[in-house]
């Protein structure tokens, strides 16, 4: 079986922990301009049934995606809100063009938020900043060559990856084997 996977349409939401729902609302709604759609107050962890009061808030994007946050103070610690390295986690939102990218940079700086970039990645141009929860945020706009570059990279991807796998296998021994999530 399992020759053909059912279809993943896209993202519905990405969810992160927040320090304080109101602080997060001010940032995402008042500074970034997202529309807040829901604040659900819940009493139990839905995956374990354990009592843990939390507020689950959702902001909607134009394309029907959501970014969601959990405000769960009884399990939160200051370490949860340490700033991430972008290799560990970052979240890139798309704007139409470089003009809007630079308009966001000015707007963030007017709110006293440090902004890094723009950085030219070839297929996109990006600026970086932190949200109040330590999450690395990126605004990006596609370069005119975005799709052409992706097509080129797609043709090369399997070979680049195979070479990389060979080159890094020894260096990865301390990370493997993967936990046998399958075998329980």
């Amino acid at each position: 079986m399992s020759d053909k996977a059912p279809t993943v349409l896209g993202v519905h939401h990405t969810a992160f922990r927040c320090r304080d729902a109101e602080e997060t609302r001010k940032f995402y709604q008042d500074i970034l301009g997202l529309r807040m759609r829901a604040a659900y107050k819940l009493e139990e962890d839905p995956t374990t049934g354990k009592p843990t009061p939390f507020l689950h808030i959702f902001f909607g994007f134009e394309d029907g995606n959501y970014i969601a946050f959990f405000d769960a103070p009884d399990s939160a610690t200051p370490e949860h809100f340490a700033i991430h390295h972008p290799f560990d986690l970052h979240y890139a939102m798309e704007v139409a063009d470089k003009e809007r990218l630079m308009a966001f940079k000015s707007r963030l700086e007017a709110h006293e938020l440090p902004v890094m970039g723009p950085i030219d990645h070839g297929f996109c141009h990006s600026i970086y900043f932190n949200d109040p929860n330590g999450l690395v945020m990126e605004f990006t706009c596609k370069d005119a060559r975005h799709d052409a570059i992706m097509n080129e990279e797609e043709a090369a991807a399997v070979e680049v990856l195979a070479q990389w796998t060979r080159d890094t296998a020894a260096q990865k021994r301390h990370l493997t084997p993967a936990p046998a999530q399958a075998a329980e």
Binding site: P6, R17, G33, Y40, T47, A110, E154, A156, T165
Partner: protein
């Protein structure tokens, strides 16, 4: 200033660390059916310019969104790949309906992957599982009443949020105030 906010269209990509690009390719392409679009082999951290060789892997979903991974063995530790608690981080991908969701559940289980759910969240139904990197993934499908439920939630969110903020202020003192990211 800041009278009008530039528009965020949606997500371009979310990026996570992976243990091994090949293992991640097998999971996202062969099990989940996403399309690998790029494997960029890059010698330096683009933000700091420091030597930090990594492979940056991109998969595309049906709606043009990407999920991206960093395979950067020189900075990876086994701790990076501990399973996340869903309050800290999870990533929800959308499928068309409950039939597709249950087809994915069967497919995942046939691959020996443990699946939780489906859970009925009122406006969506979801199943949960872990990717090989400890990232919690969700497959979700919208209920017929998805938009109506959010319209209702949106109408009450100011009062729900205000009450929650009052109720939890004392408990949050141990991880508030936020770092003054503004004041540098």
């Amino acid at each position: 200033m800041s009278g009008s906010t530039p528009a965020i269209h949606g997500i371009h990509h979310s990026a996570f660390r992976c243990r091994d690009a090949d293992e991640t390719l097998r999971f996202y392409r062969d099990v989940l059916g996403l399309k690998p679009r790029a494997a960029l082999r890059i010698p330096d951290d683009p933000l700091t310019g420091e030597a930090h060789p990594y492979l940056h892997l991109f998969f595309e979903m049906g709606d043009g969104n990407f999920i991206a991974f960093f395979d950067a063995p020189s900075s990876a530790t086994a701790d990076h790949f501990r399973p996340d608690h869903p309050f800290d981080l999870h990533y929800a991908m959308e499928v068309a309906d409950q039939a597709e969701m249950m087809a994915f559940k069967a497919r995942l289980e046939a691959h020996g992957i443990e699946v939780m759910g489906p859970l009925d969240h009122g406006f969506i139904h979801s199943i949960y599982f872990y990717d090989p990197n400890g990232l919690m993934l969700e497959f979700t499908c919208r209920d017929a009443g998805h938009e109506a439920a959010l319209v209702e939630a949106e109408a009450e969110l100011d009062s729900v949020l205000a009450e929650w903020t009052r109720d939890t202020a004392a408990e949050k003192r141990r991880f508030m105030p936020p770092p003054a990211q503004a004041a540098e």
